[in-house]
């Protein structure tokens, strides 16, 4: 196999055994990027010089016999809403096109400390609002499996980079499915950790009560490795949990015998592609074969998750994005007075989807509507959480399709926001309940990857890894890579 399609832990082993240097590995990735990036367009910003410098430093440290972390020397990519000191962080928006953060996000600091090498910042839907990476200010990213199709979104650049061999792993962010859905579309592993498991400090906020950072990787082992590196309490994020971080690699056991798996029927009904459902059902059969006890169950409030999400998320976004006003940083279009400047700056600086959500959210929070919309949505959120709580009294994990369809064609849903929103049908309830969920490749439909979503109770990432790892090891044939 090509070096650039090794998994991160395989690459790390080569590095540790000094079979390859970090500089060589980084050059390999940079070469691959040079070969395919024109077609895939996964990156907004590439940082080859910095990457080589960093790789050289890792090699030197290794030569000195320093004790290096498991990711030392492994090239990675970051979604462009994660702040990187000295490297522009655009959120794929005109608003922040030239904004260079003076600080590193918590996860960026963690990965730097772990020795991972940043090769670039990945394209995304503007401010993480979208499901196809077409809402980027710069260009759409292509799905490496079919360049006419979208990679999903909003972490589409991150997923495409990993699937195309342009990075061994990437970080994305997931507010309503933005890690899992592109992972599913691109045939990679994507994890949204429990809300509070990973610090959000330095993640440019979309919807603060839903946002979580997580890994996009080639396999489940890499996913556990990366989560290990970025999880943990951060005093700078009051919503990050002050809980010990378990040993996730130890959770990678090939054993799901007797595990109780719930299959919520609401995720297999109308709106779901028949072929996707069929592939997912086969995967569930496979889990049964492997010794799990799978049973249909119900999460009765599922249908209200999407509408409630489209009140909560835009409401928080309308406030989070208020700071982009042209005053102190970012894009500014001068006006005849300060209000005029605000209006011109925001009209020009934001794309259509962002403005749509700001308007939705502003409306939902307005006097006279708050109770009917925002407050009601919070109540729905409680009901959804309760559904899951009840299910987890009976089941260890729940499994569903990650997305109702495989990757759709570029432009197919651009003019139809509702159709676009539907692609997050299966992932949104998980964010609303703050739960951890992983998407793993489970087969192909129409020649395109299909993702299986596994959901667990809060802070039970270990059991996700266990089920995902067992499935992956038993069905290794899904670990294929696209021809680009």
């Amino acid at each position: 196999m090509e070096l650039f399609y090794l998994s991160a832990h395989e690459a790390a082993r080569l590095l540790q055994n000094k079979e390859i240097s970090a500089v060589e590995l980084t050059r390999e990735i940079l070469k691959r990027i040079e070969q395919v990036e024109d077609k895939v367009k996964a990156f907004v910003t590439l940082t080859p010089e910095k990457a080589l410098e960093q790789a050289k430093a890792v090699d030197e440290a290794r030569a000195r016999g320093e004790n290096l972390g498991p990711l030392a020397g492994v090239p990675m990519a970051l979604k462009d809403n994660l702040c990187t000191e000295g490297i522009r962080t655009t959120c794929s928006s005109k608003m922040l096109e030239n904004w260079i953060p003076p600080y590193d996000a918590f996860v960026v600091r963690k990965l730097r400390e772990a020795g991972a090498i940043l090769v670039g910042k990945c394209n995304m839907d503007e401010f993480a609002m979208g499901s196809s990476t077409e809402n980027s200010r710069f260009f759409p990213t292509r799905n490496p499996w079919d360049l006419d199709r979208v990679p999903g979104g909003s972490s589409g650049g991150s997923a495409a980079a990993v699937a195309a061999g342009e990075a061994f792993f990437a970080l994305g962010s997931d507010t309503g499915g933005s890690i899992r859905q592109p992972a599913s579309f691109c045939g990679v592993v994507g994890l949204k950790p429990t809300y509070g498991r990973v610090s959000r400090y330095g993640l440019v906020a979309f919807a603060s009560s839903l946002d979580q950072i997580g890994p996009l990787t080639r396999d489940v082992t890499d996913c556990a490795l990366v989560l290990q590196a970025i999880a943990g309490h951060d005093p700078l994020d009051s919503t990050s949990a002050d809980l010990p971080v378990p040993d996730y690699l130890a959770a990678l056991r090939q054993d799901i015998k007797g595990l109780k798996i719930g299959v919520p029927k609401e995720y297999f009904g109308p709106g779901m592609d028949r072929e996707v459902v069929s592939v997912v059902r086969q995967a569930i059969d496979r889990l049964s074969d492997l010794g799990a006890f799978c049973e249909e169950t119900s999460l009765p409030h599922t249908e209200y998750a999407l509408p409630a999400y489209y009140l909560v998320a835009p409401a928080e976004a309308s406030s989070n994005l208020a700071r982009y006003d042209g005053v102190a940083y970012g894009f500014r279009l001068p006006g005849k007075d300060v209000v005029d400047m605000y209006m011109k700056t925001r009209r020009e600086g934001f794309g259509a989807e962002v403005k749509r959500r700001i308007m939705l959210g502003t409306y939902a929070l307005s006097a006279g509507y708050y109770d009917a919309y925002y407050l009601k949505a919070l109540k729905v959120r409680t009901l959804i959480r309760r559904d899951f709580d009840q299910a987890f009294e009976k089941y260890d994990v729940l499994v569903t399709p990650t997305s109702p369809t495989v990757a759709f064609r570029l432009g197919e849903r651009v003019g139809d926001p509702l159709a676009m929103y539907m692609s997050d049908l299966c992932t949104i309830p998980v964010n609303m309940a703050g739960l951890p969920a992983i998407s793993i490749p489970c087969g192909f439909a129409q020649g395109l990857p299909v993702g299986l979503q596994i959901i667990a109770k809060p802070f039970a990432e270990e059991i996700l890894f266990r089920v995902a790892y067992t499935f992956e090891q038993a069905t290794g044939n899904f670990r294929r890579w696209p021809e680009i």
């Binding site: 809403n81 994660l82 702040c83 962080t89 959120c91 922040l96 904004w99 953060p101 003076p102 600080y103 996000a105 959000r200 400090y201 330095g202 993640l203 440019v204 906020a205 919807a207 603060s208 009560s209 005093p235 700078l236 994020d237 009051s238 919503t239 409401a315 928080e316 309308s318 406030s319 208020a322 700071r323 006003d325 005053v327 102190a328 940083y329 300060v338 209000v339 605000y342 502003t362 929070l365 307005s366 006097a367 708050y370 925002y374």
Partner: protein, 476 residues
């Protein structure tokens, strides 16, 4: 018709915590612009707030001193509005679950005591400051974010105040309490204590509220009093002319001494409050509250009673002295060195305050420390200098910061008590004013004053007045 005013005050207090409300930047006043800022208080993309425990502690302390009940669980909310001095275009504040509610403080106006309700006390962050270009033709504004994120308490009174006098008494009392608690500098000029007033009027005896206006920009006790007086008059005259009062926000114009309309009710902001998702609700346990309660210092009322009891001060003196913690501290220090409380109180309330006010200083900033005042009073008591000279020396002490004895010695101001020396001067004065001497002898008592004055003039005020009187009378 007779009207009465109904006034409620919303007071903002900057807390003097070492660091800001949600980040670790310094809160010190007066630093060069934008030197006390970080990604968090600048509201850069990706940052998150962290609650400053010291702010909460100061909040609890204040709420307890104002007899409030502390909420076992409170939370922060976002108040959304656009203004260039507000980095995130929302302010982290508290909306429906504030830190504390239902307290009161006691005021006294013209000998009548009154309890004024406190509806709520909540925590929030301050905004930055706009600096508008001043040179001719300048059409730009700059923003200084040093103040952005400094913790504030908002203290909202019930509409229990009925006159500008009561409103001022409330503010003075509140300021005194905050100073005693040492939670704020309370400098109205620097904006660390700010006040907005809600005002309405109604026919005396009525129990329904009239339409209110909110008056802003009240930067001193005097502005508060004048603005309220003006606004009450304005509202009454509107009603008397049969016109309606418009619910609106008005501002006090210090230059023109009037209030003017800022915005109408229709133009009022819709702040779109919602719970701050970046912070978790704050639980304040009994234990924490009790620990803070045990650190509460003696408050103005208690200290006033103590000054009356322990020092035998009249009620009036005790009230004035304890109106400022710094003044009361000054008093007690001075009395410990010069144990004549009434004398010290007289000097403090008289010349000392006059000189202080003239310089626009607070008692703790006086160039004359209590040790020096005590020294001055001793010099006067032991007869080294006269009262008149003492007053002069105090002025000199304020001007130069030098000690009393040092000034008296350097300027040769020691009182003349030498009988022979004074007798000579008295003789000289009597000889120079035979007409006046004659008047006195004819029974014109006032003439004596003139003669004393002449002796004083000759001695440049240094003569012992009692001795001069005595010597004159002997010779007349």
């Amino acid at each position: 018709m007779e009207y009465e005013a109904v006034i409620g005050l919303e007071v903002h207090v900057e807390l003097k915590t070492a660091s800001k409300a949600f980040c670790s930047c310094s809160t010190a006043f007066g630093a060069p612009p934008n030197t006390q800022v970080c990604p968090v208080c600048l509201g850069l993309p990706g940052v998150l707030p962290v609650i400053n425990r010291q702010m909460v502690e100061f909040g609890i302390k204040t709420a307890l001193a104002l007899n409030c009940s502390i909420a076992p669980i409170c939370k922060f909310d976002r108040k959304n509005y656009y203004y260039p001095d507000l980095p995130k275009n929302y302010q982290i504040s508290q909306y429906d679950l504030p830190l504390a509610r239902d307290g009161y403080l006691e005021i006294e106006v013209d000998g009548v005591k009154k309890r004024v309700g406190i509806i709520r006390v909540h925590m929030e962050e301050d905004a930055g400051k706009l600096i508008h270009g001043e040179e001719p033709g300048a059409d730009y504004s700059l923003v200084d974010y040093n103040r952005a994120g400094v913790p504030l308490l908002e203290i909202v009174s019930a509409p229990d105040l009925r006159s500008p006098d009561e409103a001022r008494a409330y503010m003075e009392k509140l300021k005194a309490i905050l100073e005693y608690l040492e939670v704020s500098d309370c400098k109205m000029q620097e904006g660390s204590l700010r006040c907005d007033a809600n005002v309405s009027v109604r026919p005396k005896g009525s129990t329904v509220f009239g339409t209110k206006t909110e008056v802003k920009n009240l930067n001193s006790f005097r502005a508060l009093h004048r603005a309220l007086s003006y606004e009450i008059e304005r509202q009454i005259s509107l009603l008397e002319r049969g016109e309606r009062i418009i619910q609106e926000t008005r501002a006090w114009d210090e230059q023109r001494q009037v209030t003017y309309s800022l915005r109408s009710k229709e133009e009022a902001h819709d702040y779109r409050y919602f719970p701050e998702p970046d912070l978790v609700p704050l639980a304040i346990g009994e234990e924490w509250i009790e620990r803070v309660r045990s650190t509460l210092p003696e408050l103005p009322d208690a200290r006033r009673e103590r000054l009356i009891k322990d020092y035998g001060l009249p009620e009036y003196d005790a009230r004035v002295i304890t109106g400022s913690k710094a003044l009361a501290d000054y008093f007690e220090k001075a009395v410990s060195l010069f144990p004549d409380p009434k004398q010290v109180s007289n000097w403090l309330m008289g010349d000392f305050m006059r000189l202080l006010n003239a310089k626009g200083l607070e008692p703790q900033e006086a160039p004359v420390p209590p040790e020096n005042l005590a020294e001055l009073l001793k010099l006067q008591q032991e007869g080294t200098i006269s009262i008149r000279i003492a007053k002069e020396v105090l002025e000199e002490m304020f001007a130069t910061g030098r000690g009393a004895r040092e000034i008296v010695e350097a300027k040769g101001l020691t009182q003349i008590t030498d009988v022979a020396q004074l007798t000579a001067i008295v003789e000289k004065v009597l000889a120079a004013h035979p007409k006046v001497v004659e008047d006195y002898r004819k029974g014109k008592e006032k003439a004596l004053g003139f003669l004393v004055g002449q002796v004083m003039k000759e001695t440049r005020g240094k003569a012992n007045p009692n001795l001069v009187n005595q010597l004159l009378k002997e010779r007349l």
